[in-house]
Symmetry: C2
Subunit: 327 residues, 2 copies
């Protein structure tokens, strides 16, 4: 199934099923008014949604609307728990190398994860407001999962079953605020403003053999101002898979339905595939040439993040955002 | 007004008005089913609640229930945004001094704040589950505010008006997980499990002259196993007041209705008033005697956090929690 949330003036929007080909949307308010409601009542809601999804794809439903014209929220316009890992350790090692810092060996055995703020996500086509052009605005293309309720100390085997939906992420970052913020010791706050997610979130079965229960084995395409920026495979060089990220997150707490767990910036050791964020590209430039040439995002810049199936068709729809000046 | 959320099997509980003397509760489902709903519709809901509150206090309502028998959630059983400051810089300086670390001077001019997880708060009388007795479980007695919607880059003058409710906090911490977690650079995650809040949240007018629009000038009482542990005044030595904490939090993002902003552990320079967490007491012991004698919380230990008005009456009700073993 593919699920989207249409903007309707309320804080949680209106849940819609979207056809496999991303052409049509169908309001499922009678089954679940919002995605938060759906994940909280998944056992009863999922079979009803599935039945409806089959009818939508077979063309048997009336009252469908064209999906391309819709004003979209992120699938979950807000969430109670947004925890973002940094599972591509290759990416962390590279960033550290560029600034001459050693990476502790423990980074290969225990995930990095930060507590994100989930009260105000941007929609997949919303502009990114930038207050100060010196803050070093960057995109980060990631994959994320949306989970069911999770017990504290959940086992790896149960973690995979807790994954209800998969989505793409633009983890908007303010790079030049990060060093001073992390130096204070309390982690990210200012440097991680509102995040954006892909137009639809999909159930694991939509991904076929590209989803192995813990990783998504497909290239993640990022474009900057219409030019391909990177296409690393999200299933390659992922040091910690989603089941490991989930068990890590649940070490000292329960997690509740609607929790979003992010992969961190997708990055491959094979440099020819490019990068999923500007910071990594800049580090590669610094290492290779000693000078950085790619600037961070400025007002007017456009970012696109998308994933295609084996037939070249968009799975999640595209995150497409422009940077605007916030007064 | 005093507002509480009764446990009713749903995730957000059932909103009740509580009488000024904390004796009676009255279900206000017909006005606002949950506190999250109330803060999202404050302009219309608040006058109706106020009218009802006056009737409750005058004894004019029927269908009231005894508040002391109620099973309580925290006023907001979960929230989309829980950001906890560390506004009593004296406390930070002390903790650093004990471990021989310098504190940057910038800590006096810019608040420390961490992004908390808000999906699963403990109720004010819920047990604190502890998986591993070596994790160094600690309580932290704090004050917090619950806000209305807040624009990015809000001004100090508007920040005070955005404060709808005030509450007490037990910011449960796992002290022995903190050093390794902060050393990784991504801030708190494992070391800040589910937080608990006081039985009621109150509107600023309930606090009379003890609330100056930005600080709460009353002692905050903490008890460990029935013994007074500390009673620092929350209005004394608070380097950053709540309006400063709010503007800090809103530097790069909007904040939405139901946001909780915490003060951090309340701490006074006057050591005779004791401490609001065990870690501070341990640091004072180390500095004074060279050895630490007070252990962190173990299974069976009991914590109580409360604030009294000028007449010695409890304002928020008491957070009273016992530590239990989590298998």
């Amino acid at each position: 199934m593919k699920l989207a949330t249409l903007r309707d003036g309320t804080r949680d929007g209106s849940l819609h099923l979207v056809s496999k080909n991303l052409q049509s949307a169908y309001c499922v308010a009678s089954i679940a008014p919002t995605l938060q409601y759906a994940v909280e009542h998944w056992a009863t809601v999922e079979p009803q949604l599935k039945k409806c999804y089959n009818l939508l794809n077979s063309g048997a439903l009336s009252n469908i609307i064209a999906f391309t014209n819709c004003q979209l929220e992120s699938p979950l316009p807000r969430t109670y728990q947004w925890a973002d890992g940094s599972a591509y350790v290759n990416h962390i090692e590279l960033v550290r190398k560029a600034r001459g810092a050693e990476m502790p060996n423990s980074f290969w055995s225990e995930p990095l994860m930060y507590q994100g703020g989930g009260d105000s996500f941007l929609g997949p086509n919303d502009n990114i407001p930038l207050r100060d052009s010196t803050w070093g605005l960057d995109f980060e293309a990631e994959v994320a999962v949306i989970t069911n309720d999770i017990d504290m100390n959940i086992k790896i085997s149960a973690a995979s079953e807790s994954i209800l939906l998969i989505t793409l992420v633009n983890d908007v970052s303010l790079r030049n605020l990060i060093p001073a913020e992390l130096a204070k010791g309390f982690g990210f706050f200012h440097s991680k403003p509102s995040t954006a997610f892909s137009p639809v979130a999909v159930t694991p079965d939509e991904l076929g053999d590209a989803w192995d229960g813990a990783k998504l084995h497909l290239p993640l395409y990022s474009y900057l101002n219409g030019q391909l920026f990177g296409k690393p495979n999200a299933g390659t060089d992922m040091t910690f898979d989603f089941t490991q990220l989930i068990t890590h997150a649940a070490k000292t707490r329960i997690l509740t339905a609607g929790t979003i767990i992010g992969s961190g910036t997708v990055s491959n050791c094979d440099r020819s595939v490019g990068s999923s964020c500007i910071a990594e590209q800049r580090m590669l430039e610094k290492i290779a040439k000693g000078t950085i040439t790619t600037p961070f995002l400025q007002v007017g810049d456009r970012v696109k993040i998308e994933m295609l199936d084996h037939e070249g068709k968009s799975i999640f729809g595209a995150i497409e955002q422009s940077v605007i000046c916030h007064i």
